[in-house]
């Protein structure tokens, strides 16, 4: 009996072992032969889900832009068709194989585009309120960006599927979380724009608006205003985009004019701007540095660096840290409360780096929606 049981046990144990070996062997063969196909399948599913989210987001942004044009802008006719044309509107960047004079060409193309958009939005609306027009421009810009993101992701998704390209699909799959995050930030921005609320990026204009309050302002460049004030015996040329419209202005052109046309010989140029924080950094943290603190396509930065280098003026930067979401949505308390501290830092920089009788340019950089002067 005991011999029979032992024999049975051996047989059962062997069978289990064989089954295990067969199972793992099969798994190994499947993984070896179809591993990439399986991964591609998972990637396709995940990208497809993300793509659906992007489609919903771009449709929502488009609808919000149309609703704003109709309800607030009092568009004379149904703007749907015109908005759809805007979404596919392209700006062709100049050729860069001969980089000489490239910045001027980019500036020209971008300015032409901005002028065209503004005039067409103005014509679409049945009113001339500059705040409404600027908000409409920004809403259309958000809808265009989301439309573009959706199109590009869809392109690579379909291309990856069509060519069965594992690497195209996996790269896209890995990028999807960041793409969705950026798209979500853009969509959230529409709420702040519609309400005309200052955004996180407007911290520079907020600080500078306090220096301009009660002073005479003049238009120094397109959508950009300047005022002259004094601080402890120094003459300050303070500039920002013209608020409360959703403008970023042309601070580069403005600084070139102050130094060139007005003949001002500044001892320092201080720029206050929002800066993207790294993960782990606190919102509203203030950083100091040197250099032109300005984002964008690079035209303004180039103009400011050119102007400063020509007359050998040091460029000082005061930055307020925030995430991309915080920069383009309604200003958070932590950022707003940094304005006072930035003012103190600005005063210290002016006192430390210049002396009485000096002239200083102070520029508040960023979207000035909801921030007048």
């Amino acid at each position: 009996m005991s011999i029979f049981t032992a024999a049975l046990q051996v047989t059962s144990s062997d069978l289990t072992t064989y089954l295990y070996i067969a199972f793992f062997g099969l798994l190994f063969i499947v993984q070896f032969a179809f591993g990439t196909r399986l991964q591609s399948y998972f990637a396709i599913n995940e990208i497809s889900r993300g793509l659906n989210k992007l489609r919903v987001m771009k449709d929502k942004a488009r609808k919000e832009a149309i609703d704003y044009l109709i309800n607030v802008g009092k568009a004379a006719a149904d703007p749907t068709q015109r908005v759809d044309q805007f979404l596919d509107y392209v700006t062709i960047m100049p050729v860069d194989i001969d980089p000489s004079g490239l910045v001027g060409k980019i500036d020209h193309v971008v300015t032409t585009n901005n002028d065209r958009v503004r005039s067409e939005v103005g014509a679409l609306l049945n009113q001339s309120n500059p705040v409404t027009i600027s908000i409409s421009e920004n809403l259309l810009e958000v809808a265009t960006s989301l439309n573009q993101i959706h199109k590009i992701v869809r392109h690579y998704y379909l291309l990856g599927k069509k060519t069965n390209s594992y690497f195209t699909l996996v790269q896209l799959q890995m990028l999807m979380p960041m793409i969705i995050q950026e798209a979500d930030a853009l969509l959230n921005a529409t709420d702040s724009f519609r309400m005309g609320q200052p955004v996180g990026d407007g911290i520079g204009p907020v600080v500078v608006s306090k220096l301009m309050a009660g002073k005479e302002k003049r238009v120094i460049a397109k959508d950009t205003v300047m005022a002259v004030t004094e601080y402890k015996g120094r003459k300050l040329y303070v500039l920002k985009a013209d608020g409360p419209m959703a403008y970023v202005g042309q601070p580069g052109m403005a600084i070139q004019k102050i130094i060139g046309e007005m003949g001002v010989k500044p001892s320092a140029i201080v720029m206050i701007d929002a800066a993207l924080k790294l993960e782990g950094e606190k919102t509203g943290e203030i950083a100091e540095g040197v250099g032109a603190a300005i984002g964008g396509i690079g035209v303004e930065k180039y103009q400011i660096e050119e102007a400063a280098t020509k007359v050998k003026v040091p460029l000082y930067a005061i930055l307020v840290k925030q995430s991309i979401l915080e920069a383009i949505t309604v200003m958070r308390k932590e950022i707003a409360e940094a304005a006072e501290k930035v003012g103190e830092v600005l005063n210290r920089v002016i006192e430390e780096k210049t002396k009485e009788g000096d002239e200083i340019v102070v520029a508040g950089i960023g979207n000035t929606l909801g921030v007048a002067q």
Partner: protein, 67 residues
């Protein structure tokens, strides 16, 4: 290789406030934002000295935070 597409961030509700500041006595008052408010806009009378106040800040606070 596996990653996940995040849903839209779970949004904590943001309440937007307007801060009015009296340029004479420095008194600050906080009220809910209303459309048309912007920084430097002349606003209501100061509850302390009856001078016109100006909007000094507009910001959002998360409902999760106290105050």
């Amino acid at each position: 290789m596996m990653s996940s597409v995040p849903g839209a961030d779970k949004k904590s509700k943001l309440l937007v406030y307007t801060i009015e500041e009296c340029p004479v006595c420095g008194q600050k008052t906080k009220r809910a934002f209303s459309v048309g408010d912007y920084v430097t806009k002349e606003s209501s009378k100061c509850p302390k000295c009856s001078n016109s106040t100006r909007v000094s800040l507009v910001y959002a606070e998360s409902t999760k935070q106290s105050g």
